[in-house]
Symmetry: C5
């Protein structure tokens, strides 16, 4: 959990700015280019950086999607081709960055965090950097695979307004899709919490506490991604960068609302986890109380009886009771009476009930 | 509880903006139109969208109330008729939205959350979207039924100032009525808390903790509606949208005050629930303490006595006491003395009292 | 406690703005008018609304004090006479309002909350609405009786500067006196807390926790009045309402300081109550620990001895020890030795002390 | 503790502004005047207010230090001589005020709180009011004695820059010296906490909790002084009052840094006290756990053995074992075996260790 | 821990500003000068202050690094040579200062805190003051050794852009390297927490709690360094000091991002430590519960049996059972039956399991 919080790919401290630190295990880059105008779309896998020059053609909108950083020279040459600022390129490659929006000349860098549910209780986080210029959008992703297929489909189908707009609308569509991806993740956490809500009272095992702690840490981590994202999107909405038209800003306002909503839900879940943890603690206290009651009832009933039996086990010569005929049954009656008295006492205190364990609370309430 | 937090009606992530996602179970829309001038009122159920064109007549104020979204085409055609922005329509239909006020050209969208007490401990939440233009107000509601009948009655009766004003006053009246609806909901929670306040000490069962947790979650959820509502109303008060006159802004200032007041009460209740939960925990601790005292008193009194009885139950040949005539009564006296000593010791410690359980605390304070 | 938080006098939700909701039990209004110039003062009980027209005379300052709202027509006619805005009148009558300062034309409404200690541990809260105009001040109070007599005396005596100033100074004097009334209330809470501070360790009964919870709720409630009052006074200080001269603003700055100070003290007390509650919880834990120690010591000493006695109570034919003459005393010596060993063990652990209960802690510290 | 929070010297609520409330026990004022130019210094005890007129001489800087308020007429006549605003004089005398900086015409009032360690664990707080004008500084102190001797020595010695500057530098030097006085106070609290840090685990007595609570309350109280002081000094730095030159503002920036630093340290200590309190609670829980283990081990070992002994203490006629020769030793062996089994069980659970109490934890970790 | 929070080197309160307080143990200063242009680099140890005059040569960039303050006269003469403001010099020497950026004429002082992992669980903190002017950078360090070697290497190698830039880039490189030094420190804390995460459930010893408390205090202390650093770097980014070019501000924006990121990670770790502490507490509660269960099971099984044995150990003359032949085995059967009944009862309650301790929780869940 903890080690996931930051990656060790951070450059050596003191390295010169713009140093690209690419881990061994980074996959080889795959580049996919989509170019579209209102009338048509062309798509192609790119193997040569030179093919990307098509993006400078101002008539169409070009989306260049780079997945994987495993080739430093290639990344660098893309940077050179598009004249990316060294710090921009560093932010793109040296992950994880804090989500943010920053202007570099006529390019606008937006860093967001893409999340996906990845197996039960596992969340996969991946940084996506979106570079927006007037005619093209570059997206850089850590690994293969993403949540952006619906955007690709919308471009291909030509339905909706995406093909009528410029690159800023594309960038909006990408950011919006990534942020909408938080909903299913939060939903799966919500469902998990709902399941645990009962277990926490019926079966408070230590494992459960560990599980709650893990969910909490996951939420803390998630929130760490969501919060700065709000700010990043807000910068796009309120900023006056020439690459974003006022019409697209209205759409981005909607994305901003989703950011706020997801961050509120994450916050609320965190409060609820804290609530469950407190419930856990008091369930344990309750259980200890239950255990103690059993012990106290058993001990309180039998210890006095054992004492009585001990009395008549003594070997004094002069114990007149021993010779009385009805003494033995009398002792039994005394014992049963004592036990019954104790039972009544505990029943009045609400510690035991004769209608089954489930009605204890109701009984207690009546006895009060 | 958790699943109620967000609805699954959110569009597929990556869907194009403006996509209307209408769940299967949404009821068929019912449209009701009220048109009024200072002098007269006309009301009608609307079955054809074309009838709504009457709203463009500038002489009267028209309120078109749409309940239920179960007909996508109809909703869309209303959107087309009133030239609603695709995002506005999406916000209206794809619930739940965060409460907010947003301007779309000369239309002003205000999203609020209507609450009602729905059975014991149940709160029904429903999104109401209010679209205000110069001459008409559109309200979109998720389901049939609302809290707005008093507004309708005020329009019909012609008393008060509502018929002298324009559409902005109508929008204010609707928002104000919805926000005033929070008072009875908070009151019912307050009364519930008041009931639980005693029970938490007299009868701290696990069920009670679950109940408290549910109230807390309900308050968290409620607050999530109230907080952004403050902002939404404030935007109406401070904003300078042409559809809202400065006179109506004075009225909205009052609505804003109610928003603040309800959010403060909700916050205060949440603090009080937390207080009750802590009380619960220490009630449990107290009870365990009580249980332990009973056990300790019983064990401390009888264990030494049983030991004494055990001594004279030994079978040694040479135990002179066994043959002494008054030895048996002497042992009894010793035992009773020991028991009395223990009782006095515990009484001085304040663990037991002879004046009945209820006076324990007073006794203890004196012994202190 | 909870029900006190809001009054049920809130108008029906959806009622038209300006609706006055006057509860059955509201006392009949008593109106008292004080008019003064630098040279003289006249005072009179007012029974006819027409007498109040004297307030429009610009030469003197008029203070009209209305206590009790139990006559809707009368209140309405006062409203008409002074041309009070319907919302202003609603704020005055429909209590409780949040403290605030709001301008209505050349009138300035300030709503504050007057507090008084009302019997042990009881705080009486009452809303006072101050309407300031150029030449007159209207004060509306819920019930008879207030804390404003010192202001009346200052007007009558003519000492000090009050008679040299206009109505704004009078409004300041009233607000200041009401806010100074928080000091004795906070002081009484402070003294109560000081008393409980010891009890919480020496005698942590459940009643005490309830008491602490009540103080906490009272502080939460008090703070809810104080906080917006800060804002309300600040609006008077910083605002540029023509009715308040810059000279009086210097005086109001002082009142603002008192608001801040009382809110800080209330906040600090709340932290201290929380501290006491935690102390309570750990006192309970301590007590349970003490109880457990007694049980453990008793059981650990006597259980082994009883076992030994049990051994020689067995009826085996071949138990050579039984026939040894000094066996019985030897068993006693063994038993005393075992008991002594246990006692030494517990004493070294710091669980028991021989210098009296009060020195336990010191002993323990030495043994460490 | 609580009563120290506010003094009861507050004027009667409703008293007219500017009323001086001087408690009976206030010491008679002592006035000490220091006048200096770059070349020379004169110092004198002042008994007549008229002597103070020397302060109006513009060539020198005059520092008039008044300690004790026990003479209302004298204080009033000083106020008259220097034309102090009635509210300024009220703020000076009616203590405690919140630290603040306020301009009254060409005079600048700064209220700060001077602290000193006063015996073990005791902090003495005293309000110092600094009135700065162009040529003189008035300081008003509650009681005799202060921390300002170093400033006096610096004036006398003529080293450093103090004699080259005007009154603003003197006011800075006084405020700076008072704020530096927080360092030793915080240090002494820090050392106290360091001592308690170990005790809280080795010897968690109830007294300790009370001690921690007192330190916490002391820190809350201290913070209440420090926080507004930040603001007060900041007003001096950022404000543009003519009495403070831009050169002295650079020095005051340094004082502001110290305010921030002390407030951060106080805050940090408060967090640490909270941490220690939690540690205390879990130490108690640990101890209860230890006590329980001892009880459980003793009871679990001996209760079964006693049962066995009880079996063979029965008086049935037909108990064949009783007549077997090796039965008695066999029972002993069974008993020792059972006891050994229990011991091994507890040792494997990590509840007991044979290498001494201190190694328990290591053992447990291995058994885990 | 606590004493580390502030150093006692603070000047006597009331000392004149600019007083340098140099502790006895401060090492003798070592001065190292690096001068570079795009073409070449010269480095030299400096023993005479006069050699530093080379820094005034405007053609090259000069970095003068002073490590250790153990020579007051030397420090003072450096201050004189570079015309450092007395307060600047005080901030440099009188450590620890709060991190900050302050302008003194054309010099810009940035105080940062350098951290290094120093042995297991130990963090070494050292103040570094960076004085930036147009052509030179002075760095003052408390002790020998630092994290700045990578910067020196970059200057020497001439790769990268550092030699093409002026002194502002050098200051950026130094600050950036120091702030990047927080990553490994936070990582080591993160790894430590990850280790403790399991231990806290499997082996919650008091030592562990102390360890967690120490980590928490370390994080509090670390955060105290990081937070103001954000502000300090932000002042460099947003400020318009002539010594920092707009190009370098883009680089500093990156440094600012790192500050924010480290502060967020520190904050998140603190939350996690709090989570672990709560887990610790409930582990203890769990363990007490376990201990209680063992006791209760043992006592509940054997106490009734012992009682039965006690019955037939009584010496009454008339106890018919004693003479029945099969009475003895019947008693055994009764006893075994009782014991089995208790075991089944506890097994149904989920207190014991026959599949080994590890399956308890699963069993319990089924029995629920």
């Amino acid at each position: 959990m903890f080690s996931a919080i930051f990656d060790k790919r951070h450059p050596q401290s003191g390295a010169r700015p713009g140093t690209l630190v690419i881990p061994k295990e980074a996959p080889t880059p795959r580049i996919y280019m989509i170019r579209y105008r209102a009338e048509d779309v062309t798509e192609s896998d790119v193997s040569e950086v030179d093919e990307l020059k098509a993006a400078f053609d101002e008539e169409a909108v070009t989306w260049i999607d780079i997945q994987g950083y495993g080739d430093k020279a290639l990344i660098q040459s893309i940077g050179d081709l598009f004249k990316l600022h060294p710090l921009l390129l560093e932010d793109v490659v040296n992950i994880p960055q804090r989500p943010k929006t920053e202007a570099y000349g006529d390019q606008l860098l937006t860093v967001v965090r893409m999340v996906r549910v990845d197996g039960p209780g596992e969340i996969d986080m991946e940084q996506v950097s979106i570079v927006l210029s007037k005619n093209y959008v570059l997206t850089f992703q850590e690994r293969y695979g993403d949540v952006l297929d619906p955007v690709r489909r919308r471009i291909r189908s030509g339905k909706g307004v995406i093909r009528q707009h410029r690159a800023d609308f594309l960038a909006y569509a990408i950011a919006d899709t990534i942020i909408d991806g938080y909903y299913p993740v939060l939903e799966s956490i919500g469902e998990h919490l709902e399941e645990l809500e009962d277990v926490v009272v019926t079966d408070p095992t230590p494992d459960l506490l560990i599980e709650l702690n893990q969910i909490k840490n996951r939420l803390i981590n998630l929130r760490r991604g969501i919060w700065p994202q709000r700010e990043a999107v807000n910068t796009m909405v309120r900023g006056d960068h020439p690459a974003i038209s006022s019409e697209v800003q209205i759409y981005l306002r909607d994305t901003y609302d989703h950011c706020v909503q997801t961050s509120e839900v994450a916050e609320m879940y965190r409060e609820m986890v804290t609530g469950l943890m407190n419930t856990y603690l008091s369930s344990i206290a309750n259980r200890t109380n239950e255990v103690m009651k059993v012990l106290t009832i058993m001990a309180s009933i039998f210890i006095p009886l054992t004492f009585l039996a001990g009395i008549y086990g003594m070997n004094f010569e002069h114990m007149p009771e021993l010779h009385v005929k009805w003494a033995y049954p009398a002792v039994w009656i005394t014992m049963l009476g004592t036990a019954a008295g104790m039972l009544i006492y505990f029943w009045r205190k609400g510690w035991i009930s004769f209608g089954g364990a489930s009605t204890t609370s109701r009984k207690q309430r009546e006895e009060g």
